[in-house]
Symmetry: C2
Subunit: 200 residues, 2 copies
């Protein structure tokens, strides 16, 4: 039988990073950004504070790493939908059609997002780093939209980056409203608005 090889340093490092990210995702979802200490994340992952600070420069950095993963996990899905010609979802994924379980998970992520936005508004350094992600998300979104319009052979109704910004605003705003007051987010608000914004 193949000898169980020791992990290389890089493998071990990557595995630790992964464990820390997963623990952080879980802890943040459970208790929010402010409700979690670095110690709690480290302990949940089976490490200590030292491990966290070896991989991330601070708590903000840890959250931003999660956001980066979230954005890149999600972009392919949105792009696929776009290329199929269906309405797009972004970080407020499929509000309408989501199953309760999915709603709960986007709810956790959504409230974490809100909390971090609030946090960023009180610290310019963090706000700048978050703003970079917003710009990138907007540009990715715009690129996907552009592909779709090109494929369909028609022109976007607004300048493509404005359209992407508007969609992000609407989606985020609608999910925020939905958290507080689901009863006004009735069937079709999402899809009909998106359709109206996107279709020629």
């Amino acid at each position: 039988m193949e000898q169980k090889r020791r992990m290389t340093r890089d493998e071990a490092k990557a595995q630790t990073r992964r464990a820390l990210l997963e623990a952080a995702a879980d802890q943040f979802a459970r208790h929010g950004f402010n409700g979690v200490s670095i110690d709690a994340v480290a302990e949940a992952a089976g490490y200590t504070k030292g491990a966290v600070y070896a991989h991330f420069s601070n708590k903000d950095d840890l959250y931003l790493a999660l956001l980066d993963e979230h954005l890149s996990d999600e972009a392919p899905g949105a792009t696929a939908q776009l290329e199929s010609g269906a309405p797009i979802a972004s970080f407020a994924d499929e509000l309408e059609d989501a199953l309760p379980g999915q709603i709960e998970s986007t709810r956790d992520w959504g409230s974490l997002t809100l909390e971090f936005i609030l946090h960023s508004m009180r610290d310019d350094t963090v706000r700048g780093r978050l703003a970079e992600r917003f710009v990138r998300a907007r540009d990715d979104y715009a690129a996907s939209l552009e592909k779709r319009y090109a494929a369909n052979g028609d022109a976007p109704p607004l300048e493509i980056k404005k359209l992407a910004t508007a969609l992000m605003a609407f989606e985020n705003g609608l999910s925020m409203i939905g958290f507080v007051c689901p009863e006004i987010v009735t069937d079709g608000v999402y899809s009909e608005t998106i359709a109206r914004l996107l279709d020629r």
Copy 2:
């Protein structure tokens, strides 16, 4: 000279309430909802806790009273704009054209709003009370829109309440994005999107 008359009970009561609300608005804007104690509000108004609890049943109630004022101060403006046929603004007032000072004040209100939404998500009683305000704001918005379409003699492109919800979502989402990342909220995003949503 007219003898300085003692205030009647009702006058004094109304004045106290007003002073408390103004102090609360100021303190909340400065330090956020969680950053302010009832004592601090009372002291800033020149009273003590007892006065606060004589007028408001608790801290949430104090914030909700401010929100109610904010919503009713703003509704007439939005309605007037609607009736003039111009694009509408709501609590994300005139993102495009606002002077820096105005931006700063909506920024304070925006972060307070975000904080209270987050707060409400952890307490169903509060969330319900906030949800009532959302429904009322949506309904007021819908009524204004309906008036405008009736006056112009044309039909809304979506069911009127869906349209109102979509506009609220977009406006709030855009102001949120603008707080973090003003550079992607370029000139015209607001007005062109609103126009596209509203116009036949």
